[in-house]
């Protein structure tokens, strides 16, 4: 949080004199810079003396006694003293100039901020002066902030106030309906800005305001990141249960974009997209937030190549040790195997699995694992990755739904490396580095999946072709912009409050009851390569 940085020897000549004449380290002044401000103190007295960071950091203390290294020759002494005096004078002049500049700047700033109100109050105003300018409070606050920041770190403290009414927005067109709300494009009447307005679905829940909605607001308010959609405010309607989230509007979602494109993204574009998703996710995980519903339709893009993670209807805080969690999370096609097998202890790895699915989808434009139901999903997963064994996924047998799982006795010989590489044939155009990243993300064993941080450092993003700069990203006509968007045929995120189904996976490898009917077998015997 704070970096220590020595800022002293700005001037070579002075430094030489210092070393020559007075090597005592305790006379050296140092500056400890704390983010946003600086604390100066003399390390010999340990008494903290705060000052503006730009002003004379470096006073040469007057020396009373000469050190051992002092030159005895009075002539040399005199020359050095002369030099030092000159130096000192220059230094003072410079500091003076700097201070004047600083003062001028401050004055200009004050004048600008305050209009004709005269000098601002420096202290936080604690009384309400009725005849004060209404904006004055704000100005004083800003002033205070600026002044304080020069010494101590100020925490970002906002204010609270009641929700505004939704009538402050003019609804333009409907965009989409998700599991937890309806989204429409709207205009802020006072500013003219275009925003996305999401109405939360509050079906008369017996527990009051749905915890999912609360978590969505709470996590979005705290997750301020360039790759996370920006929640501006929450507004309310006339009825008690009309609640709308006001968010920045983005032209596309990735799902619609992929649907409309003739050709998939270029490798460099895939990297740009993926880096942004993982970057946003890395931030969320660092803030103890799990998203739990990552999929292409929840990734928004604008025409400046920026990607934002959206729809926090499933998101929640997690802890260490993890609290008890529901397994009914993540849209089926993006759901990690441990969730399908009924794990009630899981972590951020489930988001990484979804990233793997999104990666696959970016490559081919088609969702990677389109199961018809939970059982089918499991068989599709195993068809891709090969069935789990105690080597690749120790302990999977103890998961609740794994009991009914009958695995073929002739387990594929475990290929070298853990996690094993996915079959090359499924991703013919992917480089080796790309395949190793994909195999890591889609590792059956959650512990084998890379974290978001590790993902960002993966060599796939370092090799050619490099990620395309965002400014160079192609633009597309926006569906959300003007016209009603067609509903995607992705399955929806699981609804809260449903019972987690007791799944019978007996059919996963038999082509029997609940399993797959269309494709021949569950197919790892048919697997190529």
């Amino acid at each position: 949080m704070c970096t220590t940085k020595r800022e002293g020897y700005r001037d070579k000549e002075t430094k030489i004199i210092f070393q020559k004449r007075d090597p005592r380290p305790e006379d050296v002044q140092c500056t400890i810079q704390i983010q946003g401000g600086a604390l100066d103190f003399k390390s010999n007295s340990a008494s903290a003396e705060t000052s503006f960071p730009n002003l004379s950091l470096f006073n040469i203390p007057s020396r009373k006694m000469s050190s051992r290294w002092a030159n005895d020759d009075p002539e040399t002494e005199a020359i050095i003293a002369q030099q030092r005096r000159e130096k000192e004078l220059k230094k003072r002049a410079k500091a003076e100039k700097q201070r004047l500049e600083e003062a001028n700047k401050a004055q200009a700033r004050d004048a600008k901020a305050n209009g004709e109100l005269g000098p601002p109050t420096k202290r936080r105003r604690l009384s309400n002066d009725p005849d004060a300018h209404p904006d004055d409070a704000k100005v004083v606050k800003i002033e205070k902030e600026e002044k304080r920041q020069s010494t101590l770190l100020r925490f970002p403290g906002g204010e609270w106030g009641p929700c505004r009414h939704v009538d402050n927005f003019e609804r333009l067109n409907h965009i989409e309906e998700g599991t937890y709300g309806w989204v429409s494009r709207a205009k802020d009447i006072s500013t003219g800005e275009i925003v996305a307005l999401k109405k939360l679905k509050l079906d008369n829940s017996p527990d009051g305001f749905p915890v999912t909605g609360l978590r969505e607001v709470q996590t979005l308010l705290e997750a301020r990141h360039q790759n996370v959609v920006y929640l501006r405010e929450v507004v309310m309607g006339n009825k008690m249960d009309d609640v709308f989230l006001v968010m920045d509007f983005h032209e596309h979602d990735l799902k619609a974009l992929l649907d409309e494109m003739r050709e998939p993204f270029l490798p460099s574009e895939i990297k740009t997209v993926l880096l942004q998703v993982v970057g946003g996710l890395e931030f969320l995980h660092s803030q103890w937030i799990m998203h739990r519903d990552l999929k292409t339709s929840n990734l928004l893009m604008n025409n400046r190549g920026e990607l934002k993670i959206a729809d926090f209807g499933m998101a929640r805080y997690f802890g260490d040790p993890p609290p008890k969690l529901t397994q009914l999370v993540v849209t089926l096609w993006y759901r990690a195997p441990e969730l399908l097998l009924g794990a009630d202890k899981y972590g951020t790895e489930i988001d990484m699995w979804s990233i793997g699915c999104i990666f696959g989808e970016l490559l081919t434009k088609e969702p990677l694992l389109q199961g018809k139901n939970e059982v089918d999903q499991v068989s599709k997963i195993f068809a891709l990755t090969g069935p789990p064994n105690s080597e690749t996924w120790p302990g999977f047998r103890s998961l609740p739904n794994a009991k009914s799982l009958r695995l073929p006795s002739t387990s594929a010989p475990s290929s070298a490396g853990n996690p094993p590489l996915l079959p090359r044939s499924r991703f013919p155009y992917l480089t080796n580095a790309g395949l190793s990243l994909m195999s890591g993300l889609l590792a059956l064993n959650p512990a084998s999946r890379p974290t978001a941080r590790q993902c960002l450092d993966h060599k796939y993003f370092k090799e050619d072709p490099r990620p395309k700069p965002r400014e160079m990203f192609p633009t597309f006509p926006s569906k959300a912009g003007m016209e009603k968007r067609r509903r995607h045929h992705t399955p929806e995120a699981p609804k809260r409050g449903q019972e987690a189904p007791e799944l019978d996976f007996a059919g996963v490898f038999g082509g029997a009851p609940g399993g797959d009917t269309g494709e021949a077998g569950a197919g790892f015997s048919l697997r190529l390569g």
């Binding site: 604390l39 527990d207 009051g208 915890v211 709470q218 249960d241």
Partner: protein, 298 residues
């Protein structure tokens, strides 16, 4: 510039306007009565949280939400919302967002017990304290019909709190920050840590509303300052609080505020020793009427 990454260590604070104008004062509730009721409500929340086996961080967050609700002209008025309902809803809401959610029924059962004139252990509800022999259960049990209507009020109040606070339910607490600071200062004596936590919990009841006027790091530093004095543990020389981004003036104010909480509470107890602090709307109206009569009588 303070980075956004510190958001989880900081809080929204009351504006001067919110501190000097409350909805209750607009509704002609004397400010001393408002302070008494708000403080009693905070104690009620604390007691209910303990009975519900919620952890102290959930309870503390609930008290902060409860406190924020009453501030400012846009806040809640004691003439419109019963302090007991807001306390219950704040606790229910906070628990719902925590790792230990609780049910409306448990919350309402506990509040019925705590507000029962015959069974309550709370000094501001029943002046004689908890009865020696347990009273008959009818005096503190919520009937089914009572539960159904109370549940509606609870859930409605929850939404009202959310709307009043603009759905910002984030509360950063100083407790864990204080422990980190203690370790940084090299203080290992458990008594100091305990005293710090005590000061921080007592400050939740402070009439100066310290939790909505100061950031958690400042509260933590003030509690450490006080506790180390009281436990006679010597801290490092120099103005160590500046390392934790608190200036001397703020520290001084907080130390005085925290030290005065005990005196305030004692004064409250003696001031209200003959009658209960009003917890519902009718009682508030009756109290104001009583004061009016007294004034006219004199």
């Amino acid at each position: 510039m303070a980075p956004d990454g510190l958001k989880h260590l900081s809080n929204v604070l009351a504006t001067p306007d919110q501190l000097s104008n409350s909805s209750s004062s607009i509704d002609n509730i004397p400010s001393d009565l408002e302070t008494s009721i708000r403080c009693a409500g905070a104690q009620l929340t604390q007691a209910a949280g303990v009975l519900l086996h919620l952890s102290q961080d959930t309870i503390a967050q609930a008290i902060v939400i409860f406190t924020r609700f009453w501030l400012g002209a846009d806040g809640g008025s004691l003439r419109i919302y019963s302090v007991k309902d807001v306390s219950a809803a704040a606790l229910y809401l906070t628990a719902k967002l925590s790792f230990q959610p609780t049910s409306p029924r448990s919350v309402l059962n506990v509040y019925t017990f705590l507000l029962s004139q015959d069974a309550s252990p709370l000094w501001f509800v029943r002046q004689s304290g908890a009865p020696e022999t347990p009273p008959s259960p009818e005096t503190y049990i919520l009937s089914e019909g009572g539960y159904q209507s109370a549940r509606l009020v609870l859930l409605r109040t929850e939404t009202i709190i959310l709307r009043t606070l603009g759905f910002d339910t984030h509360v950063a607490l100083p407790h864990t920050i204080a422990l980190t600071y203690l370790q940084t200062l090299g203080v290992t004596k458990p008594a100091v840590a305990q005293r710090v936590i005590q000061h921080l919990n007592a400050a939740l009841l402070s009439p100066q509303l310290l939790y909505v006027t100061h950031q958690p790091n400042a509260l933590a530093v003030a509690a450490i300052y006080l506790a180390s004095r009281e436990e006679e543990v010597k801290l490092v020389d120099g103005e160590w609080w500046e390392v934790f981004d608190v200036d001397r003036e703020e520290l001084g104010f907080l130390v005085v505020g925290m030290k005065s909480t005990e005196g305030f509470m004692r004064a409250e107890v003696s001031r209200w020793k003959n009658r209960a602090i009003p917890m519902v709307l009718d009682e508030v109206d009756a109290e104001i009427e009583r004061r009016r009569m007294m004034e006219e009588g004199e």
